[in-house]
Amino acid sequence: MSFGDWIGAFLGFVLTLLVFSYLIGDNPLFRITLHIFIGVSAGFAAVVAIYNVILPQLLEPIFISNRNEQILAIFPLILAGLLITKISHRFAFIGNLPMSYLVGVSAAVAIGGAVTGTLIPQLLASMNLLDVQASQVFDANVGLRLLNGVIILIGTLASLAYFQFGTLSGSSQRNQFQSWIEGIGKIGQIFIAIMFGFLFAGIFSAALTALIGRVITSLDFLRGILGLFLQ
């Protein structure tokens, strides 16, 4: 290990201890470490945005590319210039124009992504649940496959019913419908609780892996220091 690596390892060890100090309660050292983290992350994010997006996609086409690309790059340059006015309170309203552009594109991308990336694939998967040839739900046994398919279908519909937040008012028939949906939604809550329990276990495992990793790295550093002194 070079001298720089030793310094880095020492710094990493100290920062780890400072973060772990939160376990005995919120304290100023933990907050300082968090602010170091925010500062470094923000700095890196800015540099990555400049090197990976702004330089190659905005500035290089203007200064290096041919005439067509230069003309095409002028529009985002103007929009970017207008967006920068958001820094100032007085001129922030000028930045609303590029913001409206961003919001429009984001809404379209969100709709396109939700429909093609989630809605259609998930609906197709739900439709195939009772197709014995296509489904590979759990067991080679056809009866069990069908049973599992029915459970998933009921669970999906019940969980979806839990998301029914619309306001229904008026006739008693509608109220009865609403109470039906609420009843099905309660079954859906159980499926959602199981799913969150599953997620919780996954996140806990990841956090435990990170904890073991930090403890091993810190012990390795201490062993290295002890080895240096004992030599």
């Binding site: 880095g8 983290f37 890196f44 429009g104 809605l119 669970g155 979806l160 919780f200």
Partner: protein, 205 residues
């Protein structure tokens, strides 16, 4: 009243991009790519604007005689050093990677590590505060999944690992699918509200 020009831009650009997703017309597809590239640039610029704002806010806090000004000073110093080093040498240079490997990763991994304790604490607190059916189902699922991830104390109890696989493949999938469909429908509804001009979250007076 909102400026109609902003609304027209949001609706026009959004509809062109959306049509580019679903209609196989070369002109629309190419236009969608160009509009998305411009949006990528604007997102990067918006990120820079946000970071400059963060810097300015903490600069003001550090200049004012406030109780926690040391935190703001630390943030400004760490951000400035990172910007100078990574900005001058490039984000993949050895010096930049030194900052990344020995400052950012240890803090990030340690924050993730203390999540272990926080999650256990939150689980116990949930059981004590709301000991209802849903809480018990939630905790029981988490415990079963965690305990059956490997052989417990070297003992492999038959049937339990199958139970774990079944939970992951049947009821958890059902819950996740319901949530995914619900969230997607919500996104589509919110997006359409913007594209018809019912919601205009881009300021203007």
């Amino acid at each position: 009243m909102k400026n109609p020009v902003y609304t027209a831009i949001a609706i026009g650009v959004g509809i062109v991009v959306l049509l580019g997703y679903f209609l196989q017309i070369d002109l629309l597809a190419n236009l969608r790519i160009v509009l998305l590239e411009w949006a990528t640039i604007l997102v990067a610029v918006a990120l820079l604007v946000g970071i400059v704002n963060l810097f300015v806010v903490h600069f003001r806090k550090s200049a004012a005689d406030q109780q926690n000004r040391i935190n703001s000073i630390v943030l400004i110093v760490s951000m400035t050093i990172t910007l100078l080093v990574a900005g001058w040498f490039g984000p993949t240079h050895t010096y930049s990677l030194w900052i990344f490997n020995y400052i950012q990763i240890p803090i990030e991994a340690s924050l993730m590590a203390i999540l272990t304790v926080m999650l256990i604490y939150a689980g116990i607190r949930l059981l004590r505060r709301k000991p209802n059916l849903l809480t018990i189902v939630f905790i029981a699922t988490a415990v079963i999944i965690l305990l059956m991830s490997g052989a417990l104390f070297g003992i492999d109890i038959p049937g339990l690992s199958e139970l774990r696989i079944w939970i992951g493949k049947v009821p958890a999938v059902a819950g996740a699918r319901g949530i995914l469909l619900g969230v997607s429908l919500g996104i589509v509804a919110a997006g359409l509200r913007i594209l018809i001009g019912a919601d205009r979250p881009y300021g203007g007076s």
